[in-house]
């Protein structure tokens, strides 16, 4: 039985890889299987986790949480889209979701992205990484701190909307985009290598577990 499973997995793995050459029936079959199976998987998971686990158990629990009923009515309203005449009612749950998301994200992003990031930029320029006295701080830390404070500042200048990027302001914006480009280059170079190990793992499955060619 296990052998049959490995052959199925190998067939699907090679089918997906065949897409690199060109779109072909083998890939289309694998794609269709993946779409069908995964849609079914998610529906079953959502059914057991949310409908049974969250909703039903919440209602039938010793101290039932009636607020869940409010959620259910909003859900039913969403389904009423299928009825053209009163389909517009589905805008209410949608408005609820968008309003809640906007409110919830506004504060979260503000406190974690703005307050925290600004606060951690307020470092002395003459670096003292681990509390060494200032003047023995190595050049390494001092340059580092100047680059961090300067880079963040000029990065913000680049994102400024209401002033044309000309003159000194344009110069600062250019340094800003350069810093941002270094950030993009760094995280691209950083993740390139980790992607390789994903493929090494799959190839080991094909040539090792399936064909048994590796020791």
């Amino acid at each position: 039985m296990q052998i049959f499973g490995i052959w199925v997995a190998a067939f699907l793995t090679l089918g997906i890889i065949s897409f690199l050459y060109k779109d072909n029936p083998w890939y289309k079959v694998c794609e269709s299987i993946f779409v069908g199976i995964s849609a079914g998987y998610w529906f079953v998971t959502l059914f057991f986790d949310n409908i049974l686990g969250l909703f039903w158990r919440g209602i039938t629990a010793p101290d039932p949480n009636y607020m869940l009923l409010v959620g259910a009515t909003l859900g039913v309203m969403m389904l009423l889209r299928l009825v053209p005449s009163i389909g517009w009612i589905s805008r209410w749950p949608l408005a609820f979701v968008v309003g809640a998301t906007a409110g919830f994200y506004l504060i979260n992003y503000f406190s974690s992205n703005v307050m925290l990031q600004v606060q951690s930029t307020l470092m002395p320029l003459l670096g003292s990484r681990f509390g060494q006295p200032v003047f023995s701080a190595s050049l390494y830390d001092t340059i580092g701190n100047i680059v961090i404070a300067g880079g963040t500042f000029t990065g913000l200048v680049y994102f400024f909307f209401s002033k044309e990027h000309k003159g000194a302001f344009g110069g600062a914006a250019r340094i800003g985009i350069w810093t941002i480009m270094i950030t993009f280059g760094a995280s691209f170079g950083y993740t390139v290598m980790s992607r390789m190990s994903l493929l090494i793992g799959r190839m080991e499955f094909i040539f090792g577990d399936w064909l048994g060619l590796i020791r």
Partner: protein, 225 residues
């Protein structure tokens, strides 16, 4: 009626959630919202699932171009659905955990779902290489900077990089690729990340306010008057 009430809901719900952070009694409202959302999303799934079946069913019925693949998708969908909801082959029977090992549901997951997902993810290795070849052209000054930074970090994480610059004397150790890579990661990279994150937060604030105040209504399918 169709326009005023939804905008009112967005305004009230948005404001309540903003203020809930500052008043401990209302602190947990954010979590209640995510429970509400999960329930609404599950109900909406019936629309999604229904659409999937209708589209592929139509293709099958009309026998147009790729009807055979639509049949495969529908089969996959219903087999997984039945295997999961009725827990076929599940040693623990109907009350057991749906993903108990030995059940058909778990077998389909291990043999079909998992390898397909892992292989799609592994395609990234090929695409990262072709993107490096094609896009990494020093077209302008920004692209050159991006290329140099990526190259240093890329070399810094391979034994190759260590050899290339091991001859640099200890006093200039910063110029050795691995150390240079670490310095780039801990200084300029940090500055750029911060600028982007602050920008994102301010963008979110302005967008959220536009939504809550009803200045932005496109999502409602209602034209901004």
């Amino acid at each position: 009626m169709k326009r005023q009430v939804p905008l009112l809901i967005t305004l009230v719900v948005g404001t309540v959630l903003i203020l809930s952070v500052f008043f401990p009694p209302a602190e947990r409202l954010g979590e209640d919202f995510s429970i509400f959302f999960d329930i609404i999303a599950v109900f909406a799934f019936f629309l999604g699932g229904g659409n999937l079946v209708r589209i592929h069913g139509n293709r099958l019925y009309k026998k147009n171009k790729d009807w055979a693949f639509s049949l495969v998708t529908l089969l996959g969908f219903f087999i997984m659905l039945i295997a999961g909801l009725f827990k076929l082959g599940n040693p623990g029977g109907i009350s057991a955990d749906v993903a108990a090992s030995g059940s058909l549901f778990q077998m389909l997951y291990d043999w079909i779902f998992n390898p397909l997902g892992a292989t799609m993810y592994a395609l990234l290795a090929f695409y990262v290489a072709s993107a490096s070849y094609r896009a990494f052209r020093a077209k302008n000054r920004e692209a050159t900077i991006l290329l140099i930074a990526a190259f240093i970090i890329l070399l810094g994480r391979t034994p190759l990089g260590v050899y290339a610059t091991s001859w640099i004397p200890e006093s200039f150790s910063l110029l050795q690729i691995p150390n240079l890579a670490i310095w780039i990661m801990t200084s300029p990279n940090l500055a750029g990340q911060r600028a982007i994150m602050i920008g994102i937060a301010l963008g979110v604030i302005s967008m959220s306010l536009r939504l809550i105040l009803g200045v932005e209504r496109t999502y409602l399918g209602v034209d901004n008057e």
